[in-house]
Symmetry: C2
Subunit: 419 residues, 2 copies
């Protein structure tokens, strides 16, 4: 088989380590010049393929590629853009194949979450249908940790570490001030559907009474009275209460707390997230002084304190993706398989994309305590290995040195296309 060029793209919300996967792909690919031609990266994810904005990675120096491993964000640009239904929007898929054909691309590496796995699968299907062979390989990434089959998702370990550390640190602050000041602290974390990140906050505590005292999961319907009673109990027992709340916290009827129909003076839907909403309840029901924080992008960009395990796994799935391609595989995803907790051992196996696409993995019920407001030891045993090790980026002048690539684009060969 004549050697083909390859395409790599980043998809969906970026993470502290998605570029480590890119690094794994590029470095491994470069070790096999007999099999692979040029690697093009899509500018802004799959959009770059549709618009024929292909970043030529062959011009990147070894040092630039290596620097990707410690740089957060998406170095080639990512996108929130889901390919539409293949039946009604066949033109989009055909355009993809045209671009791939024009640039002699035979490998499609797609680095993303659940939606991207679906896109990746569709690309495999359309390539078969159109008689232009593409080996489509999905490289897992998501802070939400909600992909099936793989034991965990690259990107999650680092956000978990950041949230656990932040919870522990903020708790020491509140503990020292609670006698005369703030009694309730609320940290809002990501996770609209699954409570994995909120659960990671639970790692901050080690003993009975340690913060966080409550974790509010999307998986557990929110009961205001029960939660407020528990908050009150913590303030009375420990002097203060720390709550980690998932942005996806919701009532039994599915309404998000952060979107509970309240409007501001101008009639706009309340802008605040779930943390200020919950803070309002604390004030109204209990009258305690509160503070709240919303970590937002800070949590998923916090490469400065990334989990070394996460960085290693992110790189490994990139590397494994290329190795699967070498073996002639397609419509697969490298999945992380846990072998043991003590010591933590894992390896990579291939998963079929058909089993991955459009399946969301929620927190198992036995990861959540009986009262629905904390994590269990089973959950802790699952989470702990994922935050092991500190992998600091290089620092200069007190700040992490992250790389920002200047792009060299492949020449355009096709007419313009509006996605």
């Amino acid at each position: 088989m004549a050697k083909k060029n390859a395409f790599y793209a980043q998809s969906g919300g970026v993470t502290a380590v998605i570029n480590a996967s890119a690094c794994g792909v590029i470095e491994t690919l470069r070790q096999h010049p007999e099999a692979f031609g040029t690697l093009y990266a899509g500018h802004n994810g799959i959009l770059g393929a549709l618009t024929e904005e292909l970043i030529d990675t062959s011009v990147l120096s070894e040092a630039q590629v290596a620097a990707l491993k410690h740089t957060p964000g998406g170095a080639f640009g990512s996108c929130r853009y889901k390919l539409k239904d293949i039946e009604t929007h066949q033109a989009q898929y055909e355009r993809l194949i045209e671009v791939f054909r024009a640039h002699d691309i035979g490998y499609f590496f797609y680095n993303g979450g659940g939606d991207s796995a679906d896109t990746c699968l569709k690309v495999a299907q359309i390539s078969e249908k159109m008689g232009y062979p593409i080996q489509a390989i999905h490289i897992p990434k998501t802070v939400d940790n909600d992909l099936p089959i793989t034991d965990n998702c690259p990107g999650f370990g680092s956000v978990a570490k950041y949230i656990a550390i932040s919870t522990r640190e903020a708790a020491l602050d509140i503990a020292s001030m609670c006698a005369t000041s703030t009694k309730v602290f609320i940290l809002e974390v990501m996770g609209r559907h699954a409570g994995w990140i909120a659960a990671a906050g639970g790692l901050a505590g080690q003993e009975e009474g340690d913060a966080p005292h409550l974790i509010i999961f999307p998986e557990v319907p929110f009961e205001r009275e029960k939660v407020m009673a528990r908050v009150d109990e913590c303030v009375k027992n420990y002097g203060y209460c720390v709550i980690v709340v998932s942005e996806g916290a919701r009532y039994a009827d599915g309404t998000f707390l952060a979107d509970a129909g309240t409007t501001d003076a101008f009639g706009h839907k309340q802008l605040g997230g779930v943390a200020p909403t919950l803070a309002g309840m604390v004030k109204q029901d209990l009258g305690y002084k509160y503070h709240w924080a919303v970590a937002d992008y800070l949590q998923r960009a916090a490469r400065h304190i990334a989990s070394a395990t996460d960085v290693e796994q992110a790189y490994a799935v990139g590397q494994a993706g290329v190795e699967l391609a070498l073996e002639g595989k397609h419509s697969v995803m490298p999945a992380i398989i846990r072998e043991s907790n003590h010591p933590y051992r894992w390896h990579i196996e291939q998963a079929s994309l058909a089993d991955v696409a459009n399946v969301e993995k929620f927190m198992p019920r036995d990861f959540i305590s009986m009262d629905g407001l904390n994590i269990t030891d089973t959950c802790r045993a699952y989470l702990e290995p994922l935050i092991q090790g500190e992998d600091l980026p290089p620092f200069s002048k007190g700040l992490p040195q992250y790389i920002q690539l200047e792009y060299t684009f492949a020449p355009r060969l096709l007419a313009e296309f509006t996605p």
Copy 2:
């Protein structure tokens, strides 16, 4: 002079490094058994002196004391409690002196910000008036960096480093997503009166066009039209816009943005901070997709990425406070004096508390750019040395190992007192 016992207390909002000052005090004091007896720490700051809750630090092991240097929060408890006017509340001051007399305390080390400097001065005055000599020494601490005379305040360098890093990291996230998703990101930081912390966000950028594109200071009256025009310009030029905003951002009439009279559906004052308020303006005036983060306590507790310079200075002012006491000084504060920027050199001198108490240091006008929306090179030259170096705490199981002290209290010798 017979040797006397000493009292140390933490006051006001805690920081990532206030315990490093405590460590400096304790370790230095222990080196001079000829001069000092037992060091008692006030439980919850000055309240501990009033209520006679004196933590006996002599039982702490060397390792415990050393661990304070890398532990955020206030290890002995702090408080938001300002001693009232000396004329009308003389009983409070007399009680302090009674407690000090009962426990043979001759040294008063008070670790705090501007309000605490005032309290420290008052304690010196009352001790003189009551004929019970106390050497009152103020040890500077405040993330707000607003004490006079000292070039900077321990606690600030670490929050500055955290905010600069977080801004740089979040900016990479937004830059990679802006083509199809978030275009405006707003990070709210502390600083109700002075914009020092917001200014530190400016260190994230190095070149024209780098984030943060706008910094909103409390010192510069907020003009909605001007700010929104600049946001729009950034989105059009760079594809996205990152804003660092001080919680103290206000209109020309002094009204805080975060407290602009808006109420929620229940008629309560809007709970949100300035970040969601500003986000609402972006949505209303420009229609761009936004995200916002409120770092809150996370920023001042972030010991995991503390500035090594800050840790060193926090320890040094604790040490210097004890040395000043040895020299027989009172009503003074060790101040950090900058000698040069390249290389960064500093030393400690004594400042008179009379010159420190109740004076707030704002950002000099030449630290803020002409348009009022960013920092100048002069400001950058001032800030850069303060965030130098990474001083990581020890980690175990992926998390920083912070110490939580168990307190041994000195026996009570006096009747109860309700402050």
